[in-house]
Amino acid sequence: MRNEDLLIEIGTEELPPGLLKTLITEMAKNLGRELDEEGFGFKEIKLYGTPRRLATIVTSVSERQAERQIERRGPSIEVAFSKTGQPTRALEGFLKSCGIADADALGRLKSDKGEWVVFRENQKGKCITEKIQGIVERSLTRLSVSRPMRWGSRREEFVRPVHWIVALYGREVLDVELFGCKSSDISYGHRFMHPEPICINSAEEYVETCRAAKVIVDSGEREEIIKGKVREEADKLDGIVELEEALVEEVSGLVEWPEVLSGKFEERFLAVPKEALISAMKKHQRYFHLRTEKGELMNRFIAVTNIISKNPAVVIAGNERVIKPRLTDAEFFFSKDIEGGLEEKLHKLEKVVFQSEIGSYKEKAIRVSDVASFISRKAGWDQKKAARAGLLCKADLVSDMVEEFPDLQGIMGGYYAALDGEDNEICSAIKCHYMPNGAGDDTPSAGIGSALAIADKLDTLVSIFAVGGAPTGSKDPYALRRQALGVIRIILANKLDIDIKECLVETRRAILKSREELVRYHFDIDEVYEFIMERLGNVYQDAGIESDVVKAVRGQQGGIRDLSEADEHIKVIHAQKDSVNLRCLVALSKRVANILSGVDEELLPSIRRELYEGDAERNLDNRMQEAEEQVAEAGDAEAVLEILTRQAPVVEEYFEKVLVMVEEEEKRLNRLASVARVKKLFLAVADFRVLRLS
């Protein structure tokens, strides 16, 4: 059979750079799936895309679908035949629709719901030319675009207006018509450097034909070119450049032909906090910034452009002209902000709403201050400093700088606190209290900074949950999932020894204290606790630890309170999951639970030794006592697990020799109490029963 490479290119107006990679990948994935479902074999899928096109090449696509059997279900037997066994009108209609006359040619299909006639036919595979329209159409309409658009007088929607479609099978044009565009072998080059149409002869020549027309269609290649050129330019300027992936990707999504140039700004702007300068360069202009070998920011920037300019000096001058007012603004705001100290800003915070039902940021700051101080006391850090940092941490929200550069919240507060002469520890706590910002970001290190960061997040979680802001499905307007993950990550990264439940209770107390009318809300900290614990799954999933291990430790007596300790348990259990010892613990835990099922352990009497009847009972007692003492003194989770597994033989012996469910009530209860003691010992670490062993 004939096999040829298939090329589909959709020419569009400029696509959103943030979406480009998803669109490229999804289009390829959809095309592959559609071809597959339609029964066209192929070898490999290659993906391409620029701001003005999405393209997929599928190699060695078979010309025809594989032959396949189709099955059409007709009426049920009762409906198809009369009582005398004659074909009914219904059956005749079905036969006609199948294009046959003889009812004997039909098969039967039986299930527990009844019996039907079926028509089975081997269908000869259709040619790609016949199927391509549906394949492309479905692939495109199934791209996940949250906000598609319409244009002109068309009713169809797509991510941006479509201008051309290339559909090639080998060197042959396949007929596709979508969005009012008929497919052809004609594409277009760079918007300015090669506006003329270009003819694509085959998929094989696609990349090079486009390159000749000043379009690099491979986004990976564009990113490499950008990195290479930016580095080269940085070297020329004796600067060090950080090639942040997200920025490279975004910039690559804005150009078809990357070129690089560098500009400078006046040195005086370097007096402005560097984060503000970097933000102005990166967020607003998508520039790369440079540092000296000593790590100081340089008054230079590197811009990626989409043109080999006839006069690059003009483009450089233009870019320098844009950055200047932005930096002037930053400088102006900074000088204005430092006229009054943070204290002064604090009273303005009263007017800034954190959440309309919960209150202002001023109130939030007071609560965060309270809770941060509580956490610091528990952790043995400076409580007074934590309280001070909490009080000031939101004040920069009313600064002009943060209004202009919202991503500098916290960071600017740190600067302003330092200028006010606040203690260093306080300044850095304020600076890092929003961290971690997203998955890749660092967490604040141990000390009042992490207390502040945790307190702030818990306050948001508890208060927003109470007013019905909990995430539903994909909607999480307050980014509460991120907040919960943040709390976990801070605790784990610093191995903090704090009780999360206790912190939640304290948070609720602080909230209720902050405003009288809040008593009418139900601050359900158990719900928030569960929400945080559910996030644990995500944390460990990334570390390759299966969910049953997390679930087992979450099932420990009273639930996890000390996340750092739980973390150790999770890791140890994960490491030893398939060991003989652990299997044994799982089996024993199940057995213990079975015996105790239906028994209210709270109501069991305390163990009375005088009721023991044999060595097995006495042995268990001795060993349990020993184990309880050892566990209390054990240095780490590994040691604890080792102690638990060591108890297996004696527990097994107990079950072998002692009948628990004896008639005599006093003895039975005493024995149940002994079993409950074993359960308690195990359960203090984890509910081993939920472990799935392979």
Binding site: L15, R150, P161, V353
Partner: protein, 309 residues
Amino acid sequence: MARTFQDLVLALQKYWSKEGCIIMQPFDLEMGAGTFHPATFLRAIGPENWSAAYVQPCRRPTDGRYGENPNRYQYYYQFQVVMKPSPTDLQELYLKSLKALGIDPLIHDIRFVEDNWESPSLGAWGLGWEVWMDGMEITQFTYFQQVGGQECYPVMGEITYGLERLALYLQEVEDFQELIWTETPEGKITYADVFHQYEVEMSAFNFDAASVKSLNEQFNFCETEVNRLLSIDLPLPAYEYVLKASHAFNLLDSRRAISVTERQRFILRVRTLSRAVASSYLESRRIAGFPLAEDDAREYVMKELKNAK
């Protein structure tokens, strides 16, 4: 090459007139953007064709900087182009307009950078770009999807040039103040000659002198008027009161007389008004039989409206 501010306006008017836009004049009420001009806001509603271009002075009271910021003014000009249905080659038409101004796209780095537009107070949104020239935003380019809560069909394409910023490039100066407005036999007239004192005084007015009390009253009065005028089927006069209400709100905002939560409520009030006007205007055009619409579009929208009832 458009060497003066005046030439820039004239060149754009000439270009878009040639491309089939009727050249209109600024609307004589205060507004925050050219989009508020009835030639955009109202004409975006319903199935009727419409292509127009005009200059519109825009007032953004909070942007006042007493004339001291090089490119931020509380009163500035937009050049607005709307075409409905948006032609297939709208981007090309726009780029040709830059060439008509003397901008060579093989020298400058011109790009369409995603920037979706949304106006909460107009109940409107669209998708499109800001156009960058050498890193500076010189134009906003939008395909309206919804206006006044009504689906836009056919879609109106909107191009909004920031005239002063564009002029900075064409005249190669750094500050609005230095822009040459025009050259007369008596000499050069600069932007500062025309507007500096106005910026200073208006900034003072916006931030300190505007009467909060009477602005609040005005807002309330306008709101009542819109509803009254709509109740007697006068959507066009009603729309003028939406504009007045919106400007009163902007001034209250620059006087910092509105708290964050109140702000949200004010926006919602204006949106409710503009939605009511939009639907009343659509109904008035329906009764008139959508005279400027293509047959297909008219039929489609008529049918949709019937189904909705």
